[in-house]
Symmetry: C2
Subunit: 356 residues, 2 copies
């Protein structure tokens, strides 16, 4: 497997990835490196990662609390103050070692300190390997609204090492599968067949799947870095997915969902709406249901909870002029943006999900 | 006077500037406009500005507390929450109506909301007309460290209306003169002669001076938008100027200085160091002293205060590898970056200033 070169940076999955990393750092010659981890990756990933480094510049380590609830401005302040205490200068390099929270928040904090430090992503979860660490979206949550504050700034390099996946609990692994299924749905019949017919597990074929998913995301992002058009299709399943995810963290007593767990529900709902509104094929919806049942457990929603979730839709970042904009699919790989999704259609989709 | 067109946006000083503004807004067709003011510009500038608008889209007004001490992350949070409450979408437009605090902070808040809203600058102070509103530097302070957090993102348009200068207290006006004197020093003998020989006051020749100062800044910024080299010369006088400004706000009992008041001292110190280290001509230093005495009152510094100010230099954004980097001048228009400014030379420069 080769490395993937984008307009601005390279993604390394090959055997020589750490050689590439060490060479890059050597050529950059940063005044200092800060490796940012959360309490999980500090414990399970940091020693291994440091053992791969062969560099001369000074290095510091900073760990933040693990969890989406810490992806906020308070954590940014903590990090900016820390950068200030250790007097980081503009030639410093930030290395984000972790899942989506670390790469999103670390990228934002780096890109806003002294008007922009260079940063690298070393994703340690399947989700961040195929999604969060690619494409330059950085950001934090504003209260319970996901990624409301952020920027698009690319990392200087991404290193994909599937070794880190061994450290992952099963539900975290499956959370990443949701984005891979999404790539199948939005990209092509062939990739959909590959990912919907094989059980995605931590083995050799996984590397191939990660590689292809990154290529798919990379090509979309490169053609539309600032999400004017094409990139919106990466949001398939995310309009309701984000609202469900936010709600699950917001609502006392509701089971907090991982990003992929919420997105998987969002994919089902969006495929059902696509079926009703645009004739998305029934058998492909059923195939997705099978996949869902394999990787995820069903969540129950009360009527009032669904209404509260719909209330959160008004904060979706794709909205324009007060309209909720849905990404829908006519078929695998064929998307359409619609503002004509009625509340009734969404309720019908939830009914379908609850009856699975 | 014509408008000034940069690579990315235009700066309008001409008689038709509000026509250009209204046409731009009409073509953008934003989902909503938010005009951001502080308590001063809300009182003295907003009605006049609104009277110039001829637009159809919805408009909201938001005012924040006036003063550098509110240029912080707490004010950003207040604005992000406000944007969220009024459910701004990505097609919203932010108009910053105010001095440097409003254009810096408003640009930062806009550029980080939903990964980037469009914004315009309508500078109302001399300082923000010739400096802050041009060049895309946005940012906020981290505690007392100036502009530690920020981004480089250009406004979509800048409107320069010297009418607003009538609302300005004299010391605020003079604060802007410091940056104009700096432009003279870093640019050319002819501009230096123009600005050092004329008393800069609110009259017709002022428009010419503002126009030229903007052109000077614009040319430097366009050649080096991310401050790799050339743009550093805009920091002439700012290494010590920023430290003095921060200190004046930080230190209980010390008189808080306006940005330009601190920069003016920084210019004198930097010219004195330049004279000692690089032979900057004595007679030009003396000319600057004359200018300083005309616009500014002398500030007294105790030895211990100077030492505390020097302590703040380690946070200067130009520092690299633990070295404080000074911008110095060999002569008018001829700059050099040096890390060889000793503590003794800085103390000598303060002694010179204190003996004026």
């Amino acid at each position: 497997m080769n490395s993937i070169v984008t307009n601005e940076y390279s993604i390394h999955l090959d055997l020589d990835k750490y050689l590439a990393l060490n060479q890059y750092i050597d050529s950059l010659s940063p005044s200092k490196i800060v490796v940012l981890t959360d309490t999980n990756t500090h414990q399970y990933c940091l020693d291994y990662f440091v053992s791969k480094l062969d560099i001369k510049c000074p290095i510091d380590f900073k760990s933040i609390q693990a969890g989406e609830q810490f992806k906020n401005i308070e954590t940014c302040k903590e990090l900016w103050h820390y950068f200030s205490e250790i007097t980081l200068d503009r030639k410093a390099l930030i290395i984000n070692l972790g899942g989506g929270v670390i790469t999103d928040l670390g990228g934002f904090v780096a890109s806003t300190y002294l008007r922009g430090l260079a940063y690298l992503n070393i994703p340690t979860t399947l989700l961040s390997m195929v999604d969060a660490s690619i494409g330059g979206k950085t950001g934090i949550d504003l209260d319970m609204l996901k990624n409301q504050i952020g920027l698009i700034v690319n990392p200087k390099m991404v290193i994909i090492d599937t070794h880190f996946l061994n450290t992952l609990p099963e539900e975290e692994f499956n959370s990443g599968v949701a984005e891979i299924l999404k790539h199948g749905l939005i990209h092509s019949e062939s990739y959909w067949n590959l990912v919907s017919n094989s059980k995605i597990v931590n083995n050799n074929s996984l590397k191939e799947i990660i590689y292809k998913s990154i290529l798919i995301k990379k090509e979309i992002v490169e053609n539309d870095p600032t999400e004017k058009n094409l990139r919106k299709k990466l949001n398939f399943g995310h309009t309701l997915g984000h609202a469900i995810e936010s709600y699950s963290h917001l609502k006392k007593g509701f089971q907090p969902l991982l990003h992929g767990e919420a997105v998987a529900i969002g994919l089902l709902l969006a495929c059902h709406i696509s079926h009703n509104l645009l004739g998305f094929p029934k058998e492909k919806l059923e195939k997705l249901v099978q996949g869902y049942n394999y990787y995820f457990s069903k969540i129950s929603f009360k009527k009032i909870e669904i209404n509260e979730i719909l209330n959160l839709l008004k904060f979706d970042k794709k909205n324009l002029n007060g309209q909720v904009n849905f990404v829908l699919l006519k078929d695998i790989g064929s998307y359409s943006i619609s503002d004509e999704v009625s509340i009734e259609l969404i309720h019908e989709a939830f009914d379908f999900y609850l009856e699975l």
